[in-house]
Symmetry: C2
């Protein structure tokens, strides 16, 4: 029997992702291409912003053979110190972001290392990394020892420089460059749309150079790390905090006040009353699971101040408006920015939505298009399993005077902003359908849709009135000359009077229409509150 186990082995996370590369988003030659660009550009944007540098990112794609490409991504960020360069690019699950409670694009510490792995697996080549850090330019060759998930690092050169930044050059086979809605060009165009402070350049395999210049010259406010809210954590989290910080705080009560947000001395007093059999003066290291669970249950009974929302950085209403006008020049545009909310009890998030309708959207042949973003990162794949798409599909668009969403000249943008995005998979291509999140997306899109509806129905009514008026106007000359004959008044005078009457009648109707529209709006707002 024991020989059933003779093959028992342990495997590294790198081997796991080698075998399951589709879980990193590397499935299929076209999708893999976009995911590579996404991982590298995302890292660059995060690095620049963290260092307070306006991002300047260059992507250069060269086709070496049929399915064989060289991809170069260069940024003007701070570069990487030698001590970290291997692990940052050649070891999975290593990085600065995994454990932090802060709004950021990258989270897992897999992206760049995943690209280094894919490059080697498909082309047999190691990745070249040029890091200009602290006035020194160092060039490295980087690979991953998959069996151990450890970097293989070789320094090629070292020389002084005035620049800063990181350049990654890697080769891949089994790729396909597509100029589709899901390709690298569209990915970068949408990235530029959501990051108006960044300048992004792209050189495509056919030599085409596109520049998406920045439209503002200040970085967005830095998101900062926030303390977790009591409603956002589990008993296991609380125990972990107790063990980690036992050396810093002698009493559970002081740990609670320091480690979590919104926990004051008064709140601790309330918790003591709610949980009489837990000793809040005990050493945090001695807290048991049962006690942690009781505290978590009491957390749910206390009335907390909502978590701080300062850490959330949206794209911003003006910026979305400017970007959309720039790209689509639509006939009508409405942007809504909801106030921050929490999901899972304590994780702050907010939703921005925009609707562009008609005009340039129609001219571009766009119909029922949905542009999804999470923390300003475009989501191009897995639309059918994404909370954003799912929510938009549940909206009854006929309420907003749209017959068939997918046949209308409409583009809907949704940006989900949070310190923790509940991605549906490692590839970070879709947002998991959490109820609180979906509700909020729905309200944001509905709010924008109401604005659009007023416009469309106003437009339709105006057209109807104009048609009626035109019809009535047709009778004016004939009527005027007939009345002139009968009354001996001048035809021109009668004609002018008739026109005045018609004009005043129809301008009154337009006014009434507008007042009615506003009333409807108020009624709808009220409905919303109860939803």
């Amino acid at each position: 029997m024991a020989d059933l186990f003779k093959d028992f082995k342990e495997h590294s996370i790198a081997e796991f992702f080698k075998k399951n590369r589709q879980m990193l988003g590397f499935s299929g030659p076209a999708r893999s291409f976009t995911v590579i660009i996404h991982e590298l550009v995302t890292n660059s944007l995060d690095a620049c912003e963290e260092a307070g540098i306006l991002p300047e990112i260059e992507v250069e794609i060269t086709q070496l053979a049929d399915d064989h490409f060289k991809i170069k991504v260069k940024d003007n960020g701070p570069g990487i110190p030698e001590k970290y360069v291997g692990k940052a690019l050649g070891k999975m699950l290593a990085g600065t972001k995994f454990h932090r409670y802060i709004q950021q694009r990258g989270q897992q510490g897999i992206g760049a290392s995943g690209c280094v792995m894919l490059s080697y697996l498909t082309s047999g080549k190691n990745t070249i990394a040029i890091s200009c850090f602290d006035k020194v330019r160092k060039e490295y060759e980087i690979g991953i020892d998959l069996k151990r998930n450890e970097p293989i690092l070789r320094k090629i050169s070292e020389q002084p420089t005035e620049e800063s930044g990181l350049t990654i050059i890697s080769e891949y086979k089994e790729l396909k460059y597509e100029k589709s809605n899901k390709g690298p060009f569209e990915y970068l165009r949408r990235t530029a749309l959501a990051n108006p402070h960044a300048t992004i350049k792209l050189k495509e395999p056919d030599g085409t150079i596109s520049v998406f210049p920045r439209s503002i010259t200040v970085n967005p406010p830095r998101p900062f790390e926030i303390k977790p809210h009591p409603l956002g954590i589990s008993a296991h989290d609380l125990l972990e905090f107790c063990q980690r910080y036992a050396k810093d705080y002698r009493k559970l009560s002081s740990l609670l006040q320091e480690v979590f947000s919104r926990v004051s001395a008064n709140k601790v007093a309330e918790l003591r009353t709610l949980t009489p059999d837990v000793d809040f003066d005990k050493n945090p290291a001695l807290v048991t699971w049962e006690e942690a669970e009781k505290i978590i249950n009491s957390f749910k009974k206390v009335k907390w101040i909502a978590p701080s929302m300062d850490a959330l950085v949206p794209i911003g209403k003006e910026q979305i408006e400017a970007s959309f006008k720039n790209i689509f020049n639509p006939e009508y545009l409405v942007v809504t920015e909801r106030s921050p909310k929490v999901y899972r009890g304590g994780i702050p998030f907010m939703v921005e939505a925009a609707i562009a309708y008609g005009g340039g959207v129609e001219a571009a042949g766009k119909k029922g298009e949905i542009m999804r973003f999470a923390n300003r990162v475009p989501l191009l794949f897995d639309a059918s399993s994404c909370a954003i798409t799912e929510t938009i599909k549940t909206i009854d668009w006929s309420r907003y005077n749209l017959k068939n969403f997918e046949e209308e000249p409409i583009v809907v943008l949704v940006n989900f902003v949070s310190v923790y995005v509940p991605y549906a998979s490692t590839g970070k291509l879709a947002i998991a359908p959490e109820e609180d999140v979906m509700d909020e997306i729905k309200f944001a899109v509905m709010e924008a849709a109401r604005g659009m509806q007023r416009y469309i129905s106003g437009k339709r009514r105006t057209m109807e009135l104009a048609t009626k008026k035109r019809l009535v106007m047709r009778y004016v000359p004939q009527l005027a000359s007939d009345v002139a004959l009968l009354s001996d008044e001048k035809k021109e005078k009668i004609e002018k009077k008739l026109i005045d009457i018609i004009e005043s009648k129809y301008s009154k109707e337009v006014e009434e229409e507008e007042t009615k529209g506003e009333e409807n709006e108020e009624r709808e707002e009220e409905v919303d509150v109860n939803e």
Copy 2:
């Protein structure tokens, strides 16, 4: 600048999956429940079959509080030797299956450890494991040190036993027991359907006991490990084999013949001609990436015998028929078993499909239901992103006389069998949409659908003929008495003659109809070959 990196940390795979438990399928209280049952039962079935034991599996679910459950899964497998028990149940990415080229349910070595982790994260309790191995019953308490991805193991008791098997008892909170189409009951019912050699018992929280007894008393033939086919590997794989086996084979040529299937001395000679600048007598350890790539390219030019399909073990036509009759008792049932094929050039797989129509299916209120399996494991979630569902939706069912698939009393079963199932995510809930795989699923379902169509159209035509006949028959008595009056023949005689004429006319039409049906069928088969 360097302080940007002060938080640089490394993380374990266990921490990763703690944070991303949805990637293991643990998302939402109802889905998590089914996934836990799935992971534990799958491990039990694999263990029993590997040891040549007819599986006898007991699942007992006890509700301890609102969202708090105790789950016990007991099997009669070989148990686990003490040396491996900690790692098998308390360390992720450890196991016997990850690296083997064999048809098996479990593959990643995450499932059971994932359950142990989830149990602790939600209930604070460690898992109890009772292993009866080699005549000794040992009871352990097992947890995972998440920071290091290492097991925490404590032996509770040890005593002699005559039994063998493994029992896992764990507690979970944040679960919800549902008697839905995606719940544990349905999961086990479908598992029983696809594993007629297993007896499965379930005790539900409300005390209901269900037994799905085995209907055959022999285990399916053991799938065995096969050597990889040259068309199924990449340059990176070849290099890895060269390095791993350099100590066993002095020459590349002998390594190729021994490590891969279908590589004969003749084939090596062919490869030498196709790749003159590679020295096939060199030491495998010295093969370079460029050489490996050249060999892989030559692999594609050689005409290979298809990979061995002996390693694939389907459920089997008779078994599916028996199970379906047992469960649905449909009016019509057709099972198709396609011959094995390869995908990605060298990975053998095969598809079984069955269609049950009308009768018990209609009585049970089932409409357009799709039952998905991969290596006999039911797939209950993520239908919309699964190759099976996607393929079935692309089929034009009106060709098969079905107006609207989703409104018809029809159940379609598809079982995907392979040494490597391309799951779309770690949770193993859906098959990734690979083109070769989708084609084959389509052909299998279409083949079954044609069988069903003949039945339905035959049935419809028979009904039409019967209606016509009934209409004509109405005139017989009147006509017979009128003719009797005119001809002086006996009314009864005339009536009998008229009936004979009508009967023979309509039975002839039925025959013609059947012949026409067969012709259609042949024509369609021909079309299929070219598809």
